[in-house]
């Protein structure tokens, strides 16, 4: 199934749930309203034409500093390109950030039967910072959602055991939030270096 028809199969089925969709460099992305995430995920998994049975990754993006000049750090610019390379032909322009919410939770679905993949993007406001857990549907979401909670502080409604997975229990805050101080350390032993 082509990336375009992947997009349309979701947008046609859930016209109210989808707020935007695009394909960019052969990757299909669908932006969802948070309340319809479970419903769409179940459809992706069970629909015989899609069979998205593998959740490759769950991650999140903090857009609170998006578009601002980066903080001058200790290190010089790494030279990594921040805009798409002009070497690659670009039919579609880069769609930009999904919409004005502080966070987006990003799900990457893959079908082991059809070998196609689809990205679901769910905008989350800071005041709510909660989305539905996919653990009942896909057991592999368990640790991925724990990681998102650990790093970004986004809670997952219905998660069986939402606790830190990368950092230690004594750690305070969520280190990948943009308002976490870049060099703040919370050592368990030894000096606060």
């Amino acid at each position: 199934m082509s990336t375009f028809s992947l997009c349309t199969s979701v947008t046609d089925r859930f016209p109210d749930a989808v707020s935007a969709s695009h394909t960019y460099r052969d990757d299909a992305t669908v932006v969802l309203r948070p309340e319809s995430l479970l419903e769409v995920a179940r459809f992706l998994k069970d629909d015989p034409a899609l069979q998205m049975n593998y959740l490759m990754d769950v991650t999140a993006v903090d857009y609170s500093a998006f578009g601002q000049a980066p903080t001058p750090g200790f290190f010089a610019s790494s030279g990594v390109a921040v805009s798409p390379s002009s070497q690659i032909p670009d039919e579609d322009p880069w769609p930009g950030p999904p919409e004005l919410a502080r966070f987006t939770v990003v799900y990457h679905f893959f079908s082991t039967a059809h070998k196609h993949r689809l990205r679901l993007v769910v905008p989350v406001e800071e005041s709510v910072a909660e989305v539905d857990s996919l653990t009942d549907l896909l057991a592999g979401a368990n640790w991925l959602e724990r990681e998102v909670w650990d790093m970004f502080g986004i809670t997952f409604r219905g998660h069986p055991d939402l606790k830190r997975i990368l950092m230690y229990e004594e750690f305070e805050g969520h280190p990948l939030r943009r308002d976490y101080p870049v060099k703040k350390r919370q050592p368990l032993i030894g000096p606060d270096n």
């Binding site: 200790f74 290190f75 990368l166 950092m167 230690y168 280190p175 976490y180 870049v182 060099k183 703040k184 350390r185 919370q186 050592p187 368990l188 032993i189 030894g190 000096p191 270096n193």
Partner: protein, 173 residues
Amino acid sequence: MMKTEPSFFTSRLNEALGWARKYSIFQYPFVTACCGMEYMATACSHYDVDRFGAGLPRFSPRQADVLFVVGTISHKMAPVLKRIHDQMADPKWVVAFGVCTCTGGFYDNYATVMGIDTLIPVDVYIPGCPPRPEMVLDGLMKLQDKIQDQHATGKRPAFERHPLQVLKEGFET
């Protein structure tokens, strides 16, 4: 007035013990990251760390006398490293393998310990990202020199005095 020169027999004993210790290094490889590949390259037959008597890694701290800390140490891992070091029997030595263990390397963030010398004493620093096996062997030979110079009771020679010009201005020595 005590004698300042050690007697003939104790100095011979020190030399003999130092010689025995430096050619029978039992290492504990505390491998956490990519430096481990270079550590394995050093240990394998091409570079052959066994030539230096350090060919038998022990995976129990009770049986080891040199702790090789190979790879980035995170704050979550720091209590484990300290505990491993405490469990080793004296005399013991510590080698910091790679820049992450020496200074934190290019990591400067919430997760990483900025050099294991903030946690445990370090005898030899081997910088590099990762260090080449030649550098590891050089560090190992420096460690052997250090072991040879150590007193039989475990007392270490006085610290080397660094020339003043390498220190910062205004730094009290």
